[in-house]
Subunit: 367 residues, 2 copies
């Protein structure tokens, strides 16, 4: 069988068919969501498109019962607009009352990226945490930690690492291999730490048994699958099964997935207005082969990166709809959309950088 696309936590190749993934991964479409979810463009536009056991999170929200939302960050590369899609969800749940667990996967980064722990710490704080706070995360309602130093409470630290160690008995090499494709000791240990990141909130030393939601990009589902298996198998603890939601990728500007390591594929928070302009100008659109052709036959917004950036990142539904139809009808040209998007992004980045200055002060207080 020829594979049209392949999604693992380590690589995304080909064009992603999300409906196919739902079947392939055994996940479920999103249920009908309460009104407050509709206000968030990620839910409203079905960018968050699938889930596992999300019902118990909705129940907790409805009944005002406590729940945890856990996410991790890999302290490598630079922060780009693709990262915003995840952290906006975390902020959304924090405002709904969730306790946030935010893990810096520095052990994982050390084992797979060949950087020093010092560099990784610097990147985690300056490149990620500062941007998260600038985007609206409240650090005071967030348990932010490094895998390499879980807590300054020894009982909590020991409990977290003990769990990671014990989880090794809950999966076989073949399972790791089936989930990851390829596996090394470093990746296997990363996977155990990740599973402990997802599960340890339910230990007595932390929150106790309760719903935990892990929102991820669809490429991260293998981590969820193995953590769920371990959660079910471990005899020493009685965990509530993990909940998860899956979002689509913000595509790369030129071709496939956005990547921190491909400069032209993404808009980075640190990009200057001129760089943003240049990147958008050179991005892949759905325009016709020529001006004449586009005016006659119309463009294809569905494959257009400019359209997708507006769709994934900016809130105005009406503007989006108008541009979509005008494009289809050949009433608007790529240049105009590119200028519009450039302006939107540069405005956002300007404001964001101001907020980042303030965030830097907050961090010094909380760390």
């Amino acid at each position: 069988m020829i594979k049209d696309f392949e999604v693992t936590p380590w690589e995304v190749t080909g064009r992603v068919d999300y409906d196919k993934l739902i079947k392939q991964f055994g996940i479920k479409p999103m249920p009908k969501l309460p009104e407050k979810f509709q206000k968030n463009l990620l839910f409203r536009r079905k960018i968050i498109f699938a889930q596992r056991d999300f019902g118990r999170i909705l129940d907790s929200i409805r009944d005002g019962r406590p729940f945890v939302v856990m996410t991790g960050l890999m302290p490598s590369g630079k922060f780009h607009l693709g990262h915003k899609i995840l952290i906006d969800q975390i902020i959304f749940y924090q405002r709904l009352g969730a306790k946030i667990y935010l893990a810096v996967a520095d052990i994982e980064a050390y084992n797979t990226r060949n950087k020093s722990m010092r560099e990784l710490e610097e990147t985690a704080i300056r490149e990620y945490l500062e941007n998260y706070i600038a985007l609206g995360l409240k650090p005071e309602k967030c348990d932010f930690y490094f895998q390499s130093k879980r807590s300054d409470d020894w009982k909590k630290s020991n409990a977290y690492y003990k769990l990671a160690g014990m989880l090794a008995s809950c999966a076989t090499f073949n399972e790791f291999r089936a989930v990851y494709g390829e596996i090394t000791p470093g990746k296997m240990v990363s996977s155990l730490f990740q599973a402990s990141d997802m599960l340890h909130a339910q230990l007595d030393e932390f929150e106790g048994k309760m719903p935990v939601l892990v929102p991820v990009g669809i490429d991260q589902d293998p981590h969820l699958r193995i953590a769920r298996d371990m959660s079910r198998r471990i005899k020493e603890f009685d965990f509530m099964q993990l909940s998860s939601t899956y979002h689509k990728f913000l595509p790369g500007l030129k071709g496939e997935k956005m990547s921190s390591s491909v400069e032209e594929s993404a808009i980075f928070i640190s990009d200057s207005p001129k760089e943003v302009k240049k990147k958008i100008w050179n991005s892949f659109t759905g325009g016709g082969g020529s001006l004449k052709e586009q005016k006659e036959k119309g463009g294809n917004p569905d494959v257009c990166r400019v359209y997708q950036y507006l769709f994934y990142l900016f809130d105005d539904d009406n503007e989006l709809k108008v541009r979509y139809e005008k494009c289809k009808n050949g009433e608007i040209l790529c240049g105009e959309c590119k200028e519009y998007l450039t302006e939107k992004i540069n405005k956002f980045l300007k404001e964001h950088r101001k907020k980042k200055e303030t965030a830097r002060n907050k961090i010094d207080r909380y760390l």
Copy 2:
């Protein structure tokens, strides 16, 4: 090639040729030892027969400089006389001024033995630590800990677990496999914890860079080899290479290796005088086929378990020599040696059990 014998941490089969092992494992015979080592029967009789980098431990002892002696215990099964050979070394070094690190491999036991953490803790303390103290270990000069809860100092705990996690990047699956023969996720994680047990004493949060000796049975050398490789490879820390010594096994009473899981193969600390008598009576000796034959041709003390027990466990060189020669010459019969050994062991066990009562009180104070 047909293997005459095979030694891995998980199994010992066949009859062990220690000279062959020295070559096979790339270890070195013991150097000339100072006088105080000669007083200890384990060194004097070359039961401790090989080493790696032991010179720097001898230098530290000579110069009065600090060093660490690290050992671990697997909290499964019952304490038997074979365990005494290792712990007697630990006590010997403690009296020479070494700082002792004593790790309970409860994560390893959990991952490989299918017991609950509660049972494992109970066994570690009641079956092992109490006996160690009764044999002469001073708990107040010993850092006794569980892999599942390294310390009540959060900085120490985090440093220990961080190291274990980072070590995963310092070996490949093929290396684990070459060392262990067979490998599972649980065993691999156990190996990382063990390497951290051996190496973490040198972290700034603990003793800082200094010589660390790990005395082991020769079957444990694979753990040392992989820990030494990791120690050399890890870039974040500058460790002094591990020192190790290797001792022979106290043989099983009936055939091969003594084992906690084969009741008749070992004398357990909890055995009654009657049980001891019965086990010794049924043990394998070097006696002739018949009384007549033994008187004529003499016995073979070199393969005799009764002789070996006297050799490994009891201090009287002269008595040992006399019995050896009398046996060879057919001047003494197996029954007499068996009675003699039974008496020696039962006397030792009686005194030991008294000391264990006192030890129990000490433990309550220190844990």
